[in-house]
C-alpha cells in the first residue's frame, strides 16, 4: 500500500500530466495545423494557435481532393478504409471464433498439430510474407478489390488463441448440460458460447478494427486504382504526390479525419472493451 501523502500525490500527478502532454502535443499540433491557410508552413514556423481556415480546409479535403497530386476526395477513401477495416474485423472474428471452437471442443486427428500451425503464424508478420501473399493475390486476380484488401489479413492467430483461452475457462458442464438439453454443437456455439464471449468479442473488435483501419503497406502494394485507395495510404500520397511543396494544412485535416473513426469505435465500445479485458463473466 502506498502511503497517501501530499507530495506523493503531487509527483504522481506531475508524471502523469507530463506523460499525457507528450502524447497529446502532436495531436494538438495536427489539429491546429489543419486550421491554417496554405502559406503558413512555408515560413518553417509551426503556429500553436488556431488559424482562420478550418472550415475551408476540411471542405476541400472531403469534397474536392487534390486532383493534381492524384488523390481523390477523402470521403471515398474513408469509405474504402471503413469497408476494409470492417471486412477484416468481422472476418477475423468469425474465423477465429470458429477455429477456437473446433480446437477446444472437438477431438479430431492432428488437433494439437493444427493448433501449433496456427500459433506459428504469429511469428510471421504481414511484412515478412508480403511477397508470396502478393503473388497469390495477383494470380487470383484480386488486385484492386476489397477482397484483395481484406482477405489476406483475415487469418488471426492472436484472436484464435485468445478465444481458445476463453473457451477453456468455460466449465465443461455447460456443454454437457446443453447436450442433455438437446442442443447440438452449433446450437451450443450460437446459444451459449457466443453470448458468453460477447465482451471478449467487443474487445477484439476494437483492436482488430484499429488494426484494419491502420493498414498501410498492404493497401499501398495492391491498389493502383484510386477507386480503392484507403485513407492511410491516401495521406502518404498527399505528402509525396506532385512536385510542389506538400500542402500541410490539407494533409493535417486528412490526418485528423482519418483518426476519427477509430476514436469513435473506442468511445462507443469503451464499456464493453474494458469489461472484456478485465473481467470474465461466469
Amino acid at each position: 500500500m502506498v502511503e497517501n501523502n501530499r507530495w506523493g500525490n503531487f509527483f504522481a500527478h506531475l508524471v502523469l500530466i507530463i506523460g499525457v502532454a507528450i502524447v497529446i502535443f502532436p495531436v494538438y499540433v495536427a489539429i491546429i495545423a489543419s486550421t491554417h491557410p496554405p502559406g503558413t508552413f512555408i515560413r518553417g514556423v509551426m503556429p500553436l494557435l488556431p488559424g482562420p481556415n478550418a472550415l475551408e480546409n476540411y471542405k476541400t479535403v472531403i469534397f474536392e481532393g487534390r486532383s493534381r497530386a492524384g488523390t481523390p476526395p477523402i470521403s471515398g477513401m474513408l469509405w474504402n478504409s471503413f469497408v476494409m477495416a470492417m471486412a477484416i474485423t468481422i472476418g477475423k472474428l468469425s474465423i477465429s471464433l470458429l477455429s477456437a471452437f473446433a480446437i477446444v471442443y472437438f477431438r479430431f486427428p492432428f488437433r494439437i498439430f493444427f493448433f501449433w500451425i496456427i500459433f506459428l503464424t504469429l511469428m510471421l508478420p504481414v511484412e515478412v510474407r508480403i511477397l508470396p501473399t502478393f503473388q497469390v493475390v495477383a494470380d487470383l486476380g484480386m488486385l484492386n478489390s476489397f477482397a484483395g484488401l481484406s482477405i489476406p489479413l483475415i487469418a488471426s492467430a492472436t484472436a484464435t488463441f485468445l478465444f481458445r483461452q476463453f473457451f477453456m475457462t468455460v466449465p465443461e458442464e455447460l456443454m454437457e448440460a446443453a447436450r442433455v438439453d438437446g442442443a447440438g454443437p452449433m446450437k451450443f456455439f450460437k446459444d451459449i458460447l457466443l453470448p458468453l464471449s460477447i465482451t471478449n468479442i467487443a474487445a477484439l473488435f476494437v483492436i482488430m478494427f484499429i488494426y484494419g483501419w491502420n493498414q498501410y503497406l498492404w493497401p499501398l502494394l495492391i491498389t493502383t486504382d484510386p477507386e480503392y485507395y484507403t485513407i492511410v495510404m491516401g495521406i502518404q500520397r498527399m505528402v509525396t504526390g506532385g512536385d510542389s511543396e506538400p500542402l500541410w494544412h490539407l494533409v493535417m485535416a486528412t490526418v485528423v479525419l482519418a483518426a476519427l473513426p477509430p476514436i469513435l469505435v473506442i468511445l462507443f465500445m469503451q464499456r464493453l472493451f474494458v469489461k472484456g479485458l478485465t473481467e470474465t463473466e461466469k
Binding site: L174, E176, R179, V180
Partner: protein, 350 residues
Amino acid sequence: MASITMENLGKVYAGNVRAVTDVNIDIADGEMIVLVGPSGCGKSTLLRMVAGLETITEGTLHIGDRVVNQLEPADRDIAMVFQNYALYPHMTVFNNLAYGLKNRGFKKAEIDRRVKEAAQMLEIGAFLDRKPRQLSGGQRQRVAMGRALVREPAAFLFDEPLSNLDAKLRVQMRVEIRQLQKRLRTTSLYVTHDQLEALTMADRLVVLNGGRIEQIGTPMDVYSHPATTFVAGFIGSPAMNMLPAEYMRGLVSADSLAHLPVKADLIGIRPEDLSLAPAAEDEMSLSGRLMLLEPAGAESHLHLSFEGIKETMVVRLPHVPDVVEGATLTFSIKREKLHPFDVTSGKRVA
C-alpha cells in the same frame, strides 16, 4: 417413467485405464438408487455413462425397453443435475428452464405452463427473471432441479448435487429432493460420496469401490450386514471398528465366539453397539484404556486402545459418561452384533 437396467457395464479409457468393471444394477420404475463410494471409485463415471456423456465400452444399458448405448444424451429421455449446477450464466432462470424444451420444439404455451409449474413446486417463481449470478447457492440448486423437472424425463440423474452447499442447506435440500422424488415417483440415480446422504435418501444404495460394486441393498441392510470390510468401513460414522479375531478369542472365554465361523479372522464392531452396562447372558465384555473422550452434546465418542495390538476402537455412547481419560473401561456387546470378516478376501463370513 421407466426402469433402468445395467448389464455388465464397463468403462475402459484410452490407454487401457479401467474405471468401471462389470456393473449389474436393476433400477425399478420409480426407485431411487444412490451410488456411493470414495472419490475415484467410478461412481460419477457410471452416472455419466447412463447419461450418455461417457461412451459405454462394455455391456448394455437399457432405459425403459430400449437399449440406449449408442444414443445421444438428449435422446435418452433423462435429465441431469450437475454438481456445480451448470446453469447458463447469460440466461434468465426462465430461459434456463425453458432451453431444453425449446430445443425439443415444444409450443410456447406448453413451455410456459411447465416452467411455471416447476417454479411453483421449487418455490423459485419469484426469481424467473433473474440471472443465475444474482441467486444464492440454494436457489441455484433449485433452478438446476427445475431444469430437470420441466423435462418430465424417464429418469433423473444427480451428480453430487448437494456438495457445493453449506451443511445446513444440504440437510434441507436433501429432504426436499427426497420428498419431490417420492411425490413424482421418477426413477432416479443419485451419486454422492457422503454415506449419510446415501443412507437417508436411497431406496437401495450401491457401494462402489475401485470401479466395482461392493454391495447393493437397502440402507438398513447395508448398514447392519455389510458384505465386505470396505463397506463396513465406509458406511457409518464413526466407522466400524475392526479387531483381529485372534485377539478377541484371547480376551473372552472360548464359547463366547463359538457361534462365529472359524474362518473369521477379523471382527467388526459398530461403535454404537457397545455399552458401559455389565455384560448380560448373551453378551461378551471387552476392556480397553480410554485415550480420549470427545463429548458431542447428545452423544460422546470414546477412543480406546488395547494392550498388545495396535488397533484402536471408537465407542459411541448416547450420553457423556463420567469417566477420566487414562482409565480402563469395560464394555459389553451382544454376541450377534459382531461382524465376522475374512481378512484375505475382505468378505463377510456367514
